[in-house]
């Protein structure tokens, strides 16, 4: 858990400029450097070290890469890895599609636009654990509100969180509901910043509403898309609190993701092993996000 936020890897590195003498004396940077070293550098290096040990908090033994070998041998870990990717792709994809559609709707001339915009943002403000507990109650297979409503129409609802095939998807849908507001707001900002001239020009050229959306809104809202994709991918890859509060990775291991597997190893007292898991998570996030970020940003610079 000590690794620095993976978000850091998403920041594009600016082109190197010729070295310039700083106007500030060196000691001026010292406080920030000390804070950085103590709070980020040391824990990161320490976690890299402890991931190579069998660590009980009281003492440690150096065991080389055994933790990583063990980590990949665990059957529910591979499952967790696959689930993580499914979860990240599903939530990220749905947030992009639904967020964009809602943003287009909420930037059009409709009644009570500001009110509707705040309504869509509301779930973002609620505590994740609170949302998780609420939906757990709503999704109860026999007494939950969702299945009771379905029963009114004569449909026998599934065990949303207890059916091993559905549990992960149910949690992902709740995640989308909760995070959609943020994606929508980012898209609204992106769409609003598109100059009206483009739309007028397109209209004069005889483009219909769909063509205006496809050829003007979509390409020009690209920076917003990049932000939404990267934020929701990172969020999805390291998602933990919602899954933990809804299913605890269950039933059994069927909705376990990397973060919940790591948490369980940590709870069980396998400190070295869980630290190794965090290193794996860090590398995984970096492997996925860096190319995505480079790809999306390059397209942006050379349209």
């Amino acid at each position: 858990m000590a690794l620095a936020s993976p978000a850091a890897v998403a920041i594009a590195v600016p082109a190197r400029r010729p070295a310039q003498r700083s106007p500030y004396p060196t000691w001026f940077f010292l406080p920030a450097a000390i804070i950085y070293a103590v709070l980020f550098l040391v824990p990161t290096l320490a976690s890299l070290f402890f991931s190579l040990t069998r660590w009980t908090l009281f003492n440690w033994t150096f065991i080389g890469l055994d933790n990583f070998v063990q980590f990949f041998r665990e059957p529910f870990l591979v499952q967790g890895l696959i689930n993580t990717l499914i979860y990240a792709a599903l939530t990220s994809g749905l947030k992009v599609v639904l967020g964009l559609l809602l943003a287009v709707f909420l930037t059009s001339e409709i009644m009570a636009r500001d009110f509707l915009r705040s309504v869509i943002f509301f779930p973002v403000l609620v505590s994740t654990v609170g949302v998780g507990i609420t939906f757990t109650v709503l999704m109860h297979p026999t007494t939950g509100a969702i299945n009771e409503t379905l029963a009114l129409f004569g449909i026998k609802g599934p065990g949303w969180l207890t059916d091993p095939r559905l549990a992960l998807i149910s949690v992902a849908l709740v995640d989308v509901w909760k995070g959609l507001g943020l994606a929508t707001v980012i898209y609204i900002a992106g769409i609003v910043s598109i100059p009206q001239d483009f739309y007028e020009a397109a209209k004069i050229d005889g483009a219909n509403a769909f063509q205006r959306f496809w050829n003007v809104t979509l390409p020009l809202a690209r920076p917003a898309t990049i932000t939404v994709v990267i934020l929701s991918l990172i969020g999805g890859l390291r998602s933990f609190d919602l899954i933990w509060s809804m299913t605890r990775g269950g039933p059994g291991f069927t909705s376990d993701v990397l973060a919940s597997v790591i948490y369980k190893q940590y709870q069980a007292g396998f400190y070295g092993l869980s630290t190794a898991g965090n290193v794996v998570l860090f590398i995984l996030v970096a492997i996925i996000i860096v190319p995505v970020s480079i790809f999306l940003n390059r397209k942006e610079r050379t349209p």
Binding site: T56, K264, Q267
Partner: protein, 432 residues
């Protein structure tokens, strides 16, 4: 004259000083010492600890006890380990005996209580599970428990059933209960820990069939998957699922739901530890007389016995600055007066592990059902977690999977063996 006066004055002053010193002696001693006392936040632990602390304070005006609570389960394990590792542990703390106790490095972290006079009051069966290398480190709090089946006596009476002594009899009872339109076996997988009873509570039968299982298992020579006796616990889970004996919402039901269904007579059997009797006493006092208990049956009616759980212990960390006062409190808990106060606080849920502690005559039937197992010489065997330091942390997820049909029993047992290996390596046991 002036000399005399001075001398007399001096004498007087010295005498006065001596007097005031003796007078002040007890004052110094009475300077109140505050002991911090960390307990888990279980619904029964809190009243027990508070009553014990209050009674102890009344007897020892110089000592105050400050009760702090912590979460239970693995989160609590973590907290205990972290506080011990950082030297921030309270003066006294409550923690599991058995394998979890072994995992906190007793020799390095805890005060040795072997030679304390009050350890003579503690039963040997408990001393064994709080010992490391022959040294004793704790005293018992609360009562011993059994892992087996809490059952509804009313349903049994209505259907004319008798307590099963073999698994086949148990399944036959289940069939009759199902035919009568009731839930035969209650399972509550939302609280995953409740799913482990079929496996953990079957250990009496495992050790009856393979007496050296625990020893070999600790030495990496016996496995759940390859031992015909040990794999049966997982098999039994599949049996009750495939028989259609479970409550419809077994995947989403909680421990509280299970207790409610059992008390209300919606379900007949709830595999559980007997500490649930305290919760039943608190929440469903009117139905308590309808609830009985029996040990999980095995294959042989002649070898029917109980898998027993030892209660938690109280321990003193070496970092405590008030070890003498803390020991005084432990002596109080390990006395008959201590037992009586615990009974007063939450009622009685099983036998105490302190010599001379008696149970009240009005104990509920589930508790009196439990006693014969403890009175017979080979009527009970400690659970595996008390005779081996290794317990895999993922068992509760595995038993949920086997119990819901996601994973076949043999696979579940093999997966658990893999899980156990990690724990053994973490503890640095030989042979792994």
């Amino acid at each position: 004259m002036p000399i005399h006066t001075t001398r007399r004055l001096l004498l007087g002053a010295v005498a006065g000083l001596a007097l005031s010193l003796t007078a002040m002696g007890p004052v110094f001693a009475q300077d109140p010492v505050t002991l911090s006392f960390l307990i888990d936040n279980g619904a029964q632990t809190i009243p027990v600890a508070q009553k014990l602390a209050a009674a102890f304070e009344a007897q020892n005006p110089g000592i105050k006890i400050d009760v702090e609570s912590r979460p239970g389960g693995t989160e609590g394990d973590n907290l205990i380990k972290t506080r011990l590792a950082t030297g921030e542990m309270t003066d006294i703390f409550l923690y599991n005996s058995g394998s979890l106790f072994q995992a906190i490095n007793p020799q390095q972290n805890l005060v040795d209580l072997t030679d304390e006079p009050y350890e003579a009051n503690v039963l040997d069966s408990f001393k064994k599970v709080v010992s490391s290398d022959g040294r004793v480190y704790g005293v018992p709090i609360q009562t011993a428990m059994g892992g087996g089946v809490l059952y509804n006596k009313k349903i049994y009476a209505d259907l004319g059933l008798s307590v099963p002594k073999t698994w086949a009899e148990f399944m036959a009872n289940n069939a009759k209960i199902k035919a009568a339109g009731k839930t035969a076996v209650i399972q509550t997988f939302k609280d995953t820990w409740t799913s482990q009873l079929f496996v953990l509570g079957d250990f009496y039968n495992v050790q009856a069939a393979e007496p050296d299982f625990a020893e070999k298992y600790t030495a990496n020579q016996a496995k759940f998957a390859t031992s015909p006796a040990a794999v049966k616990g997982f098999q039994h889970q599949e049996d009750v699922l495939k028989g259609g004996y479970l409550n419809a919402d077994y995947g989403a039901a909680t421990y509280e739901d299970g207790l409610r269904m059992l008390s209300a007579g919606e379900g007949a059997h709830y595999p559980m530890l007997t500490f649930a009797i305290a919760a039943l006493q608190q929440n469903y006092p009117d139905n308590l007389k309808d609830i009985g208990f029996f040990a999980l049956p095995g294959d042989d009616a002649a070898k029917n016995g109980l898998t027993a759980w030892m209660p938690a212990g109280l321990f003193i960390p070496k970092t405590s600055e008030h070890q003498e006062e803390a020991k005084k409190f432990l002596a109080f808990v390990a006395s008959t007066a201590g037992c009586d106060i615990q009974t007063e606080a939450v009622g009685v849920t099983g036998p105490y592990l302190v010599k001379g502690c008696a149970l009240p005559a009005d104990a509920p039937p589930s508790v009196t059902d439990l006693l014969p197992y403890f009175e017979k010489a080979d009527g009970n065997a400690p659970a595996l977690e008390f005779v081996s330091p290794i317990k895999g942390p993922a068992l509760e997820q595995i038993t949920v999977e086997v119990g819901s049909g996601i994973r076949p029993p043999a696979d579940g047992a093999a997966l658990y063996d893999e899980d156990v290996r990690k724990q053994a390596q973490q503890l640095g046991l030989p042979g792994w």
